[in-house]
């Protein structure tokens, strides 16, 4: 694979993004920008209580308000069999409350009105009587005997357990621990946070009363999957549902689930016969839509006296909220958490996970991560640092000792993953060198003598992305493959249609670059289309860093198929046999006679004007790609922080990130993805928290409570790369959108703990606020 095909602007070139031309002019089309003739506006009434019986709803005054077209309650939806809907994890979720409220912010009723202002006015006129019930916000208490039953409507549900799941070998793990010289432990909570894309969720539902066609303009990361689920939920014929996902203002996993507002707006449009727009507010987004993490983890790492890892044992309790709505493959109840052995050659491991229902919003989305890999990466990287302290070893040295070695790939992990490729020592070496690790350790020592606190944190993560293969991975039963359809026009210009969905990743640019490298059509001549289920082939959507690993592969494969057809056409045009031809960048030439050549544009023209006898006309095709394996991006992140002992305040002095995501299609875009991921990792480590009081009131329901880093707090990042191609991916790419969010939180937290470790601090849970650091220092002193 050449990366220097300059004139076709293919793989390896940092060409500027095509999509920017509309965004910088303010000409993007986000869902809220859509305005249709006769469009109505919907607003949702939400429960102020977290657990309460619904006694009565009086909508009379709201319905009578001038401009109100309809008021919809759970009873109304129940009359159309729409009061409940399936979740992505095989559970059911209330669309609107019919029996009792199960979390604060749950959908109780909606108003549809001529304007959004009137709709919100009318919400104030709905009178609801609740009968409060005991609230549970701690999943460990929820699993205790005698806890109030949250899911009392489910047959056979007698407690608040939503799943129990195990992975690995318990017997072998216990045996290894029995022999271990050293065992280090860490109890930690990976707190609940929220992806909070800057654009909230919304829909413009347009059901045409004459034709029955439902056109849903939707903030969706997975338009086809949503179409199928809508067909199942609403009972609409799937051929009459068109999901259109225009420009999406960030997703980060938040736009993978189907939300009650989508269903209600669609039902309203169907019943009223006019388009209905629903755009949630920021508070609605934070309190009711897909949260992330909320894992209470307890990890034990067994090592021998030399620091060689022997076994890993993890028990975790997952807080799933009121409905089990994690967006993840069916057979893995705790997502891909069992990648928790990380970058290390771990002989055995055992993971035990229990999911609990609580009176909190449902979700469990993969927030810029591949199905719970973030929690796993955090735990092992924190444990490794603790092990280094315990053994009196340098944390980098302990990692080098235990890394899976380059020659061990493909590597079968203790919990069943087959890592495709990696060179972990090289990435860490590069990061250490760029940071000037040894000098910094010396400076740390010197500063300590002066009473100043400097800490260095390391995280050497391994991710697992690009689901499926379809045999093992699905979402709500839909197998995880993806697709690409390539149409080359007679003049040699092309349209590529893909089943994945950009939310800012730059697919219009990078996917055109794949076509350019594989088929020789300059990327500026390739238009990339997505986000319209009537127009593009079926796909499972964009999350879990799967666009490049799956749809990117599909694109490469279909481009190669068309190139092979092109070879036949070229042989016909040049009157030679196909074996006599060779392909170079953008043309076929006769071996030994390079001047005898035809360009891909000539070939495309011939496909419509001068094909050989018997050849099917045209130069188009579609490919559905079922990956043989996941891809395993990796890297090493180093963070140096300065901590003020008096206030607990910490500042990042240096952040060095070495990422290996295999072949980089557009290095500029890859680097941008890494910057964004490192920022979200910092945000999670430092400030982002969705918390609850004992009454189940959500604390963190707006941007003054749910803190997002601005340019002022965000560190400067120093990014570097190594390239270890994926051996099974057609272009060797692995996916990169989430690596930095997965890997970096542990690096930041490790750095802060490293700064105060000598004072006796062993752990600070995220978000690592200055108050918590200060308190940890005080606690250690006493």
């Amino acid at each position: 694979m050449s990366t220097t095909e300059s004139h076709v602007h293919g793989i390896g070139q940092s060409i500027k993004r095509k999509e920017d031309d509309r965004f910088i002019r303010g000409k993007g089309t986000y869902v809220d920008d859509i305005s249709l003739p006769g469009m109505l506006h919907m607003a949702i009434l939400r429960s102020p209580l977290a657990h309460a019986k619904l006694v009565s709803i009086d909508t009379t005054a709201a319905a009578a308000l001038d401009g109100v077209v309809a008021v919809i309650t759970g009873a109304d939806l129940a009359a159309h069999n729409l009061a409940w809907m399936p979740t992505l994890s095989g559970d059911t979720q209330a669309v609107f409350v019919t029996d009792k409220v199960r979390f604060q912010g749950q959908e109780v009723a909606a108003v549809v009105a001529e304007s959004a202002y009137v709709a919100y006015d009318a919400l104030d006129l709905i009178e609801v009587e609740y009968d409060p019930l005991d609230v549970i916000v701690d999943p460990r208490k929820a699993l205790e005997a005698g806890a109030p039953l949250i899911r009392d409507e489910k047959e056979d549900q007698t407690d608040n357990r939503c799943y129990h799941w195990e992975s690995g070998d318990k017997g072998a793990t216990d045996a290894a621990f029995a022999k271990a010289a050293v065992v280090v432990s860490l109890d930690t909570h990976y707190p609940r946070c929220h992806p909070a894309p800057l654009e909230t969720c919304g829909i413009v539902a347009d059901v045409n009363p004459a034709t029955g066609k439902a056109t849903l303009h939707l903030t969706s990361q997975a338009p086809h999957a949503h179409r199928t689920l809508f067909a199942i939920v609403a009972g609409l014929p799937e051929q009459n549902i068109q999901i259109k996902t225009p420009d999406i203002g960030g997703g980060f996993g938040n736009k993978v689930p189907i939300y009650p507002g989508y269903v209600a707006a669609t039902a309203a449009s169907l019943l009223i016969g006019r388009p209905v727009k629903w755009i949630e507010s920021r508070s609605e987004n934070l309190i009711s839509t897909g949260f992330a993490r909320d894992f209470h983890m307890s990890g034990d790492l067994a090592l021998d006296n030399d620091g060689k890892m022997l076994a890993l044992r993890v028990k975790l309790v997952s807080d799933n909220g009121a409905f089990f709505a994690d967006a993840q493959p069916t057979k893995f109840r705790a997502g891909l958490f069992h990648i928790v052995t990380g970058s290390y050659d771990m002989p055995v491991a055992h993971i035990e996970a229990d999911g609990a229902y609580t009176n909190k919003a449902p979700g469990g989305v993969a927030y810029r991560c591949s199905f719970r890999v973030t929690e796993a990466s955090y735990l092992i990287e924190r444990l490794v640092q603790n092990a280094a302290y315990e053994l009196g070893t340098d944390p980098a040295a302990l990692r080098f000792k235990n890394f899976i070695k380059p020659e061990q790939f493909p590597y079968k992990s203790a919990t069943g993953f087959e890592y495709d490729s990696g060179d972990y020592p090289r990435a860490l070496e590069l990061a250490l060198e760029q940071l000037g690790y040894n000098q910094l350790r010396q400076e740390q020592k010197k500063l300590r003598e002066e009473g100043k606190l400097l800490g260095i944190g390391i995280a050497s993560f391994t991710e697992v992305v690009g689901a499926g293969k379809s045999k093992e991975y699905d979402i709500a039963g839909l197998k995880m493959f993806d697709s690409a359809e390539l149409r080359v026009h007679p003049t040699g210009k092309a349209i590529l249609k893909i089943g994945v969905q950009t939310q800012g990743q730059g697919h219009e640019t990078t996917f055109a670059q794949i076509v350019a490298s594989e088929l020789g059509i300059p990327s500026e001549d390739v238009v990339v289309q997505y986000g319209d289920t009537d127009n593009v082939p079926y796909g499972l959507g964009t999350y879990a860093s799967r666009s490049t690993p799956v749809a990117g592969a599909a694109t490469a494969v279909i481009a190669r198929k068309l190139r092979e057809k092109g070879r036949t056409l070229a042989a016909h045009l040049l009157e030679v046999s196909e074996e006599d031809l060779e392909w170079e960048t953008d043309h076929f030439s006769v071996k030994g006679a390079p001047d005898k050549k035809v360009s891909i544009q000539d070939v495309a023209f011939a496909a419509y004007t001068n094909m050989p006898d018997g050849m099917e006309p045209g130069l188009e095709g579609v490919h559905y790609y079922d990956p043989p394996n996941m891809t395993y991006p990796f890297g090493s992140y180093l963070v140096a922080v300065e901590v003020d002992e008096g206030t607990g305040e910490w500042k990042v002095r240096r952040m060095v990130a070495v990422d290996d995501c295999g072949v980089r299609i557009n290095p500029m875009i890859v680097e941008g993805q890494i910057h964004g991921g490192l920022t979200e990792g910092y945000a999670i480590a430092a400030m982002q928290l969705i918390d609850f009081d004992e009454e189940g009131n959500c604390i963190g329901g707006n941007f003054t409570d749910y803190l997002i880093p601005t340019a002022w707090e965000t560190p400067h990042f120093e990014t570097h790369e190594t390239v270890t191609p994926s051996p099974h991916h057609p272009i060797g790419a692995k996916g990169v959108g989430e690596s930095a969010t997965v890997g970096s939180p542990a690096a930041y937290v490790n750095a802060v703990v490293d700064a105060v470790r000598h004072l006796g601090v062993t752990n600070i849970d995220m978000p690592v606020t200055s108050a918590k650091v200060w308190q940890a220092i005080q606690d250690a002193k006493t």
Binding site: I24, L198, T714
Partner: protein, 162 residues
């Protein structure tokens, strides 16, 4: 209430409900949808526009408060189809990903560079700290602003020489 506002250099009159927010008037009534809404608490800055040259979060100003004033949105940045140097710089330095915060970021940049033609990184980070971006980590936004500053300064120098 009747209001007269100059929007992107164009005199605009309207009868608006007193409680109508400026951002809703711009987006829903004038269909200037470049200006976005990202929060309810004046925190995110996606709705930033210039009012008499000052960056204002248009979700926190009533349309009637703009009466008699001059409002500039991203739609008013380019002149005669020619991109403003800020717009060109955001593309050049990959200062945007999903594009949702971008209009607000460009408007605060415009206000910054009007006051400070040679801002330091610290000046820039402070100036854009009322605007949230969830995609870029700000680093390339800072680079975009630096590039734009250089371009504008060079253009001004050219204009002076000419």
């Amino acid at each position: 209430m009747d209001i007269n506002v100059t929007v992107n250099s164009k005199p605009t009159s309207a009868d608006v409900e007193p409680r109508r927010l400026l951002v809703h008037w711009l987006r829903d009534d004038l269909r200037l949808t470049a200006t976005h809404v990202g929060c309810d608490t004046t925190s995110c800055g996606a709705c930033t526009v210039l009012v008499d040259g000052t960056p204002i979060k248009s979700c926190t100003l009533l349309a009637v408060q703009a009466n008699g004033r001059e409002v500039t949105t991203v739609e008013g940045l380019a002149t005669n189809g020619q991109l403003h140097p800020i717009q060109a710089a955001f593309k050049e330095e990959h200062g945007l990903q999903c594009g949702f915060c971008t209009p607000g970021m460009m408007m605060v940049t415009a206000a910054l560079l009007e006051k400070n033609e040679d801002p330091s990184e610290e000046d820039i980070r402070w100036a854009i700290s009322g605007n949230i971006c969830r995609c870029t980590g700000y680093q390339n936004i800072v680079k975009s602003v630096e590039l734009a500053a250089g371009q504008i300064k060079a253009e001004r120098a050219d204009a002076t020489t000419a």
